[in-house]
């Protein structure tokens, strides 16, 4: 501190103190911050402080061609990019009246479910790490890497695939891909009992997570909670079932729910969703070889591609909750406006603030990770 810059601030005597939680803090998910007021270790006030990752997506997208935005949208949510591509592509298809071939729809669903498993493994490991169980984090990240290898074989990239384009997908699946996928699914299923022993049935975790960060059903609906967090309160709402997109109406899967709405319930919902995603992927592996046809519909020259006037709202059940794109076209080669409705902007701001209030400081990280908020998507 430069001595000449030092300004003593007089505060009245108080038991409260203010703590800056993040952005440079291992207990926070990504580049995000919270301003916490505490007495002892009890939280009496909390304010989310985002904006560290703001890039102005919605503005940048207005500046680029419809097809150029395909490369931009996955970067909105880093741990789970494919739903972004898919939803954007679907919004564009709705405006342009494009028909996606059936084979492309199956491939898209496969990518979405693989990404869901990746995201769940990542966040369950992260939740474990916040209470000091690092082995689970190491396992989760390593197992996720097997799926990333598959993504690489399919799309050429580990994280940002830019594989789902308006009108279909970029390439067909390579030879032997489905065998590799079912092999990995077998492996993941065999790993699940080990995860149970280490983490999901661990009494330490149960003691720590039970009754922490409880959301009731009314609160969940009022605060705009979606995805696994909503299903952890006992509401079986899922866009894949309620408003089927792609080929989800031809697949058999359950919507797992829990009732208590606390950290434990949210983690357990994710565990069951892992099993459901594996089930869905098995069905896709079985059905995909029988579905023949093109993987992309005919597009005009994408560099001179003017969409007709109109708007569209497309929504998806992403790994973190309900994701939606609202795109407006005025008949030009660029979007007039694109709005992103991300799940995390609710979870990381209003829900997190309310759940932490009255809690204890050591639970902030646990609650944040159990809500599975994704700061790059909050700030956009």
């Amino acid at each position: 501190m430069r001595p000449e810059n030092y300004q003593p601030v007089e505060h009245p005597a108080s038991h409260e103190y203010e703590l800056y939680f993040g952005p440079n803090h291992p207990g926070i998910e990504g580049n995000y911050a919270l301003k916490v007021r505490l007495t002892g270790d009890e939280i009496v006030g909390i304010k989310a402080d985002g904006g560290y990752l703001h890039r102005g997506f919605e503005k940048i997208m207005e500046d680029r061609l419809w097809i150029q935005n395909v490369a931009l949208v996955p970067r909105i949510c880093v741990p789970d990019p494919p739903p972004m591509e898919e939803t954007y592509a679907r919004a564009v298809e709705m405006i342009g009246g494009l028909e996606v071939p059936e084979r492309a729809q199956w491939i898209r669903a496969m990518i979405l479910e693989m990404s869901r498993i990746c995201g769940h493994l990542f966040i369950v490991g992260g939740t474990a790490a916040t209470i000091g169980q690092y082995s689970n984090m190491f396992w989760g990240i390593t197992d996720r890497d097997y799926l990333l290898d598959l993504f690489e074989a399919l799309t050429g990239a580990r994280i940002y695939h830019m594989f789902i384009t308006p009108g279909g997908v970029r390439r067909d699946i390579p030879d032997g891909f489905l065998d590799k996928l079912s092999h990995i699914l077998d492996y993941l299923e065999a790993r699940l009992p080990e995860y149970d022993d280490l983490f999901f049935n661990n009494p330490v975790f149960h003691k720590r997570a039970e009754g922490i960060g409880v959301i009731t059903q009314e609160q969940a609906l009022a605060w705009g909670v979606t995805g696994p967090n909503l299903r952890a309160c006992g509401l079986a709402l899922d866009v894949r079932r309620d408003d089927p997109y792609l080929i989800y109406d031809q697949l058999a899967f359950d919507i797992p729910t829990e009732t208590s709405g606390d950290v434990l319930a949210r983690t357990m919902v994710r565990r069951s969703e892992l099993i459901e995603s594996i089930k869905i992927l098995r069905q896709i592996v079985q059905r995909l070889p029988q579905i023949k046809g093109p993987i992309r519909c005919d597009l005009p020259n994408p560099l001179a591609w003017n969409l007709p006037e109109g708007d569209a709202y497309a929504r998806t059940e992403a790994q973190k909750g309900e994701l939606a794109f609202y795109a407006v076209s005025t008949g030009g080669s660029k979007p007039w406006r694109v709005h992103v409705r991300g799940p995390s902007s609710m979870h990381a701001v209003q829900v997190l603030e309310k759940l932490c209030l009255g809690g204890r400081i050591e639970d902030i990280a646990l609650i944040m990770f159990s809500l599975d908020a994704c700061p790059p998507e909050v700030d956009r």
């Binding site: 501190m1 430069r2 440079n24 291992p26 580049n31 102005g56 940048i60 190491f138 580990r158």
Partner: protein, 241 residues
């Protein structure tokens, strides 16, 4: 890296400043520096600060699959104990302030790695109103890892290269921050406004490390003093009231 010839003695402190010229060091100094560089390169801590999307490739790098611990590289939570500041992607202006504060808190020698094309030229967000485009305008960078996003293998290759550079005594970009503080501060002020100042007294540190040069102070650091004195006067006025 551009290094200027530092002035021999500083009129304010009367301390003879060390010349950084490698050849002018005494033999003992050279031996000690060599040993220190070798030791430093074998144990590096990355600051746990994930600034952009590249951060998603760091968990694979530091956990079992790619395991950077076998290179002696581990994450560290506090800036004071960290050696490497890994800028994992785009920096919004708000983050850049925190990054500069963090960088100044780290103790020398410190190394900055810019990861991803966003740190090099703005990358994907080259026309975004919220992000900075060239990291090296605001702090000296030892190495860039290109790619969007770089693969874990590329990141590890970068680490290996950095280890090699430290071992050879070539990773000295941090000294540039002291030699050219005025330039870096000017760029920061252009972004954050003329009254931008950080808690760390970089000029005093430059003297302490004997890295004070004629470019350490200049018109921009003068502004620092001007605004600092404004705060002081304000404080005095308040006291009078």
């Amino acid at each position: 890296m551009t290094t200027n010839i530092p002035i021999k003695s500083d009129p304010n402190t009367d301390i003879a400043c060390r010349t950084p010229d490698m050849e002018e060091r005494s033999l003992l100094r050279k031996v000690i520096d060599r040993i220190a560089d070798r030791c430093r390169s074998r144990s590096l801590f990355i600051l746990h600060y994930c600034t952009g999307c590249g951060a998603i490739e760091l968990p694979p790098v530091i956990t079992s699959r790619f395991d950077s611990e076998r290179l002696g590289i581990q994450p560290m939570v506090t800036p004071r104990q960290a050696d490497i500041l890994l800028i994992t992607g785009y920096l919004s202006v708000k983050t850049l302030k925190r990054v500069i504060l963090t960088y100044e808190q780290m103790s020398a020698p410190k190394y900055v790695i810019g990861m991803g094309s966003c740190t090099i030229n703005g990358g994907m967000y080259w026309h975004s109103y919220a992000t900075i485009k060239r990291l090296q305008e605001y702090m000296p960078v030892d190495m860039y890892i290109a790619g969007c996003m770089p693969r874990p293998e590329a990141i590890q290759q970068g680490f290996l290269q950095l280890i090699d550079n430290i071992d050879k005594g070539q990773a000295i970009a941090w000294q540039d921050y002291y030699y050219q503080y005025d330039k870096y501060l000017g760029n920061q002020q252009a972004l954050f406004g003329p009254d931008w100042h950080t808690p760390t007294d970089v000029i005093a540190e430059a003297r302490h490390y004997e890295l004070f040069s004629e470019n350490t102070i200049g018109e921009h650091t003068a502004l620092l003093a001007k605004f600092a004195s404004k705060y002081v006067t304000l404080q005095c006025e308040e006291l009078v009231k």
